[in-house]
Symmetry: C2
Subunit: 242 residues, 2 copies
DNA sequence: GCAGCCGTTTGATTTAAGTCAAAATCCGTG
DNA sequence: CACGGATTTTGACTTAAATCAAACGGCTGC
């Protein structure tokens, strides 16, 4: 699902913005790239803790992350909240809002971040002129659906250790695809946010980290994680006890 | 999210096929509707137990359910499987496959069903000519994302009783939107399939049904369900203990 | 640089749901 | 219509994760 594409490659492909998810594999002409650049030229900064948008806000634009890290979360009537994803450089947020012209989740920056705003009506217009772009938008939305199904599998049928292993391996892959180390990275989110995403309490997340460390699978110290035994982590996943 | 639209209304809106999800709210011209009809005119029958498609199969078309009932499920390497959704008349399946040109889940008929095949390349082409159709496709994909987020909330933060209540209320709503009774319906799926969808074991599903019955919330007898106290069921959801 | 607060770890205990098992019921098929 | 396999129900017991609680550590802002 994720190709190992270097960060430099990304920067070359799209002039103003490292939107590898939006503009990378299109093979567009120069004119078309220029149109796209124009579409995407509204930049915005978010400080750690800022909401890029909140559930209920009217929908205008998708957002592409240039730099930084976000969580998205849905809120239930009774105040319960569920983190639905963590999002990094090159990923697109806000697609849930298209269906009702209203955002259905909050997007919160977990570190100071820079985003590109993509007015959705313009994007649709441009898609009509550039079939490859239209198709690519569909792929991006479809990828989000596939990702969500993966999370459903995780939440519906895995136990704590498997969930955390899957989480770490997923982050590892995504960092690798962006040219960062797949085996050592900084967690931007708290144990509680990880727990919310994985359907676990924060204490369970913490205990499971500790157990992984004791067993030599990883080294954790606060938010710094180092994967020591990738193979064993993967094994944890595929031979799931059921 | 679901409007109370009668089944007759659906049939009027789209001549060959009750695709309320695809063609209902578009306000298309007659020519445009004719184009759409042509797009959608490949019909297919599925017997109970048949797979409409399987994970790994090449992607060509989306599928709209004319009549019948489906489940979709993703499979994990180790044989574990997770039901990702139950789908009824008027709903569209297969959007997960766009991202990789390969289906990522199985779609299995839970009763004899009739579907319309929608060649996706044609749909994209038509979307370029008919902006309202293009936008509507985006809404449908977005709706799937929102739905999946709802399931993630359910799996990540609800307990067994709440999950089952949410499940029953969701079915109720969807039957109501199609002109069927919201309070008495036939479950097409087994307890095990319900359990897979809700992240519970079949015994837990069965016990929870029994408890609901004892408490007068529903009457169940095998696959026939009758909701006796909708208000109490809803209350179970919104005042969730956490 | 220090105080205070938030986040994390770890332990003891509880509990919701899973597991194992057996009986009952349903349903499709020959 | 009867048989046999599949599905469902219910019970007894186990277990993984939640809860409650306390101590610790590390940022952050003053």
């Amino acid at each position: 699902m994720l190709n190992p594409i270097s960060i430099n490659h990304l920067k070359t492909a799209c002039s103003s913005c490292s939107l590898h998810e939006l503009c990378l594999p299109l093979g567009l002409s120069e004119t078309e790239i220029a149109q796209l650049d124009q579409l995407v030229n509204r930049k915005r900064h978010c400080k750690r803790g800022d909401s890029l948008y909140r559930a209920g806000a009217p929908f205008q634009s998708l957002f592409a992350i240039r730099t930084g890290f976000f969580k998205t979360q849905v809120l239930h009537d009774d105040g319960r909240e569920q983190v639905t994803g963590f999002h990094m450089l090159g990923e697109i947020m806000g697609m849930d809002a298209i269906s009702s012209d209203t955002h259905t989740c909050d997007a919160v920056a977990l570190e100071d971040s820079e985003i590109c705003e993509i007015p959705f009506a313009h994007l649709e217009q441009l898609g009509r002129d550039i079939p490859a772009l239209q198709h690519h938008l569909h792929k991006i939305m479809s990828r989000e659906i596939v990702r969500d199904h993966g999370v459903m599998l995780l939440l519906g049928s895995m136990k704590a250790e498997e969930r955390l292993a899957a989480f770490l391996l997923n982050l590892s892959q995504r960092f690798a695809a962006r040219g960062y180390s797949p085996s050592a990275f900084h967690l931007r989110m708290t144990r509680e946010e990880i727990g919310s995403y994985l359907g676990l309490k924060l204490e369970t997340v913490s205990r499971t980290f500790s157990r992984f460390q004791k067993e030599g699978l990883i080294a954790v110290q606060n938010k710094e994680v180092q994967i020591k035994d990738m193979t064993a982590l993967k094994a944890l996943l595929s031979q799931g006890s059921h």
